[in-house]
């Protein structure tokens, strides 16, 4: 009995860990969608490039695990944020006046470009980022990997910090303002271009952080972004595109469901079940589980 409960808690923690990674990535997509109404399909590849930047930084930083892992995190955050900023400056900003479908198609181009870049530079091989938290800790009767605890705690801290930023700082409030009414924002003197740039930087940084956290467990490879991206996207849609709490809740729910399913049932149909449920939600409740119903105007 005891063992079963412990197994369940472990499955649950596994789900939360993955769920937070999903949530951190989905947050970026939802923030960008809120501001520009673009479904940025290339977002997952910022996450992937962040992971590679972390891998490179860690190899340069040397053999001290503590130092090299910190270097990896910093590099991942910085590079992902930079790629986000450049994506806006070089691509999306030029398409602000074009129909939405153009930006959306450009996102697919960007996705190919970033993935192609990683393939060309790093090849299809799997790379490894080493973590100093490579041991198990005892919490009560539970043995949990320290890296998982680090992921849980730092994700929660990051999300708390994000909420503080959005709700309490004037720049964060301005970011929400631009998402709700770009014209209103300009009327009060907010430079929407600058805010959009900040949004892309934040979205990228969150993805890079998520990548550096999970990379020691899942390894680093070129299509890691594409795999995560799809799920992050669906999470956003389920949470309501542009809805920040929705993205977090959606990420956690998907992570836990996947983990429980994988822990107890035939793993073969895991993805199918996950995507099946998500598409059903999308069709039955297109405004998202947490969204408000809007009338056709």
């Amino acid at each position: 009995m005891m063992i079963e409960i412990n197994y369940f808690i472990n499955v649950l923690i596994g789900g939360l860990v993955v769920g937070f990674i999903y949530a951190l990535t989905a947050l970026g997509i939802t923030i960008i969608y809120g501001i520009l109404q673009i479904p940025d399909f290339s977002h997952g590849n910022r996450y992937m490039l962040g992971a590679y930047a972390g891998f490179l930084a860690a190899s340069i930083a040397g053999n001290m695990l503590e130092i090299s892992y910190i270097a990896a995190i910093l590099a991942a955050v910085a590079v992902s944020a930079l790629v986000g900023v450049l994506s806006y400056l070089l691509v999306y900003r030029r398409l602000l006046d074009a129909p939405h479908i153009t930006s959306f198609i450009a996102a697919i181009g960007l996705l190919m470009l970033l993935e192609g870049f990683a393939l060309a530079v790093f090849g299809p091989r799997y790379q490894h980022i080493h973590t100093p938290f490579d041991y198990m800790v005892l919490v009560g009767a539970l043995r949990i990997s320290a890296q998982r605890l680090v992921i849980l705690l730092s994700s929660i801290a990051t999300i708390a910090f994000l909420f503080y930023f959005l709700k309490r700082t004037i720049t964060g409030i301005a970011l929400e303002a631009v998402a709700q009414s770009p014209i209103g924002a300009r009327l009060v003197g907010i430079n929407t271009d600058k805010i959009t740039l900040i949004a892309f930087a934040i979205a990228g940084a969150l993805a890079g952080f998520a990548a550096a956290l999970i990379a020691p467990i899942t390894l680093v490879y070129p299509i890691m972004g594409a795999e995560l991206n799809l799920k992050a996207f669906v999470i956003c849609v389920v949470g309501g595109l542009g809805n920040i709490p929705g993205a977090i809740a959606g990420g956690l729910v998907l992570g836990i469901v996947e983990s429980i399913y994988g822990g107890y049932f035939d793993i073969r149909w895991k993805n199918l079940v996950a995507f099946g449920i998500l598409v059903a939600i999308l069709i039955l409740k297109p405004e998202g589980l947490f969204g408000k119903k809007e009338r056709r105007a």
Binding site: V91, I101, I105, G109, G116, F117, L282
Partner: protein, 323 residues
């Protein structure tokens, strides 16, 4: 450009191509034809109806799988083709019914999800599809005329077969676009609300054009499996959806010749950089982005807007927004 001269010229050149004796050129041209058929279908739903569908790759792969499975079970290619097309059309009908109420990005994401779902089924249901091991030894199609059997196994024979299929599919494509049906889907693309107030049942027409686009994809897929002889679950992946999308956008979404031009350019790029396999995706991405940024209307779209700027005469169908 006068299409009445250009089209027959190209057709004659195409018929003469095997005289060059280059099996490489024939192989590339055959693949080009297969991809073009799928791209034509995608152009109907994206270019003319204005709905960003991302399921085309799955329909293509599904067409290939259904027909290959039947052929491997002893069916003739032609009856398997009919069943594959009907099956994919039915799947598209159901997916269209479910997704086409969604708008813009939501529709795109929903169709992408269905692509993933179809891929998962093909990849994981190995009792039926043999999963990642793929299907091998798919025989080539053959026909019997008056007791004489002609096999399309040779590169050259298959090329002529595909040329005939291309002509048939192009005529179908042309009929769909040129008929009142084509005008109505353009009306939906240009102003959905107003189209509805012209008494058009939006759902019906959107679903119909989605089904048409899937039919083209499944035909292309079925012939692909017969040509290559082996297929793997990858063929249903959304990577193919993106590839067909690239061709349509590149050629000019919503222009009749767009899928031909776009597929030609994309096939060419792939071949030119074939030796740099590692860089293919990167180069595709760069070219794609540059095209969207500097030529968002694609080759044919840009051609027509230049022509309009210069005051040149546009085709008569331009009155109805069709190019």
């Amino acid at each position: 450009m006068n299409w009445k001269i250009v089209c027959p010229t190209i057709l004659v050149l195409a018929l003469l191509l095997p005289l060059t004796g280059s099996s490489y050129a024939i192989r590339i041209s055959t693949l080009f034809i297969i991809y073009t058929i799928a791209a034509m279908g995608l152009n109907i739903i994206i270019g003319y109806t204005g709905q960003a569908s991302l399921t085309q790759g799955a329909f293509y792969g599904l067409g290939a799988y259904v027909s290959a499975l039947l052929v491997l079970n002893g069916w003739s290619f032609w009856s398997s083709l009919v069943v594959a097309v009907a099956f994919v059309a039915a799947v598209a009908f159901l997916i269209g019914l479910m997704t086409l109420r969604l708008k813009g990005a939501y529709f795109a994401i929903a169709t992408l999800l269905f692509n993933v779902i179809i891929y998962e089924i093909v990849d994981k249901w190995d009792e039926v599809t043999r999963g990642p091991r793929g299907l091998f030894g798919i025989p080539s199609p053959a026909i019997e005329i008056g007791g004489v059997s002609i096999s399309f196994s040779g590169t050259q024979n298959f090329y002529y077969l595909m040329l005939a299929v291309l002509v048939i599919m192009t005529v179908l494509y042309w009929i769909i676009i040129k008929s009142p049906f084509g005008s109505i889907i353009v009306a939906i693309r240009e102003n959905e609300l107003l189209a509805e107030y012209a008494g058009v049942n939006l759902t019906k027409f959107k679903v119909a054009s989605f089904v048409f686009s899937a039919i083209f994809a499944s035909v292309a897929g079925a012939f692909y499996s017969a040509y290559i002889g082996s297929i793997f679950p990858d063929i249903t992946s959304f990577v193919n959806s993106f590839a067909f999308l690239t061709a349509v956008i590149f050629g000019g979404a919503g222009t009749l010749a767009g899928p031909f031009v776009g597929t030609a350019v994309v096939t060419l790029i792939n071949e030119v950089f074939f030796t740099l396999a590692q860089y293919t995706v990167l180069i595709q991405g760069i070219v794609f982005l540059l095209a969207i940024l500097f030529m968002p209307k694609g080759v044919m779209g840009t051609y027509y807007s230049r022509k309009a700027e210069k005051g040149g005469e546009l085709p008569k169908r331009a009155i109805m927004g069709k190019l």
